[in-house]
């Protein structure tokens, strides 16, 4: 007959991965008074450690959502006419294969660096999704709130 302590341990070992292994959430916020309309010009900044060119995915997804004036590239070659800088953070984990656990996208006013809007998609291993899906989720959470519901 196993002891109570062992039962708790076995229960926790089984339930914890089952619950946390399929965690998924979206978070987004547009700050009060922020103007992130389609008439603005956007520049998606590729961070220097990004070898996957996620900036291109963000750019193309934004264009598909109706933002016509979106370009991307390294920070040093940002055009002077840009209104809003788009930054992203990608966090990767290993579980059999490499997968994107979190993608965070931020929109900042180019001249003041103030935050205008942010969106985030978080998916653990068992509900992992391609970069394209998580980019779309994060952007839709900002610009099309309620669509994911």
């Amino acid at each position: 007959m196993p002891s109570a302590r062992l039962l708790v341990l076995l229960w926790a070992m089984g339930l914890w991965p089952a619950l946390t292994g399929c965690s998924q959430n979206l978070a987004a916020r547009v700050l009060p008074g922020a103007d992130v309309g389609a008439e603005k010009t956007y520049y998606v900044v590729r961070h220097e450690r990004d070898t996957r060119q996620i900036d291109l995915v963000v750019r193309d997804t934004m264009r598909a959502m109706g933002f016509r004036q979106v370009t991307s590239g390294l920070e040093g070659v940002m055009p002077p006419t840009v209104d809003i800088v788009v930054q992203y953070e990608d966090r990767w984990m290993w579980d059999m294969t490499n997968y994107l656990i979190m993608l965070k996208i931020q929109f900042r006013d180019r001249s003041s660096n103030t935050l205008l809007a942010r969106g985030r998609s978080y998916r653990t291993s068992m509900v992992r999704a391609p970069v394209e899906v998580m980019v779309r989720e994060a952007l839709e959470a900002i610009f099309l709130p309620g669509k994911e519901a």
Binding site: A4, L19, I101, M102, S112, N113, L115, R118
Partner: protein, 170 residues
Amino acid sequence: MRTKLSMRLLAAAVLVSGCTIAHQPSLDVTAAAYVLPSMPRLGEAVKLANAQADEVVASPASSYTFEADLRQYTEAVLASLQRELTRNGFPVDPDAPKTLQVAVVDVEMVFAKGFRCDLNLTLKMGDDVVGIATQSASSNYYPEAIDAALADAVRRIMTHAKVLAFLAGG
């Protein structure tokens, strides 16, 4: 024995199921280490003002939802900032004509290899507006992550070129 086991199972269930955390930020956080450039001190006094309205923002992280009162977070930044300004020879006076308006406009708790608290601030100095974003270390213990973010925010304010120019009388 069975009752004890049930209690443990219940506690574990509460732990792993989603719950909301509303953390009161500490007013005693010390700024992260920084070095000030050589510049004139003990000039015109500055008034610090909380420019953030009452607003609570929520962010999901891991199986929790963190709620942050933006005005409280701004108060925490201001408390630490006032100590740093005074310590470095910049007089702070609530009646000073020159005002530095500070607002923590966003607090987001993220979870990836630990908790990390991301703060966004807006500073107003006359007509000039500056946005500051923290990049602090993550921690397995969320209050530590919040303290680290507050400490980083104050460090970034104290070393921002526009803030230093404003303090020096620019």
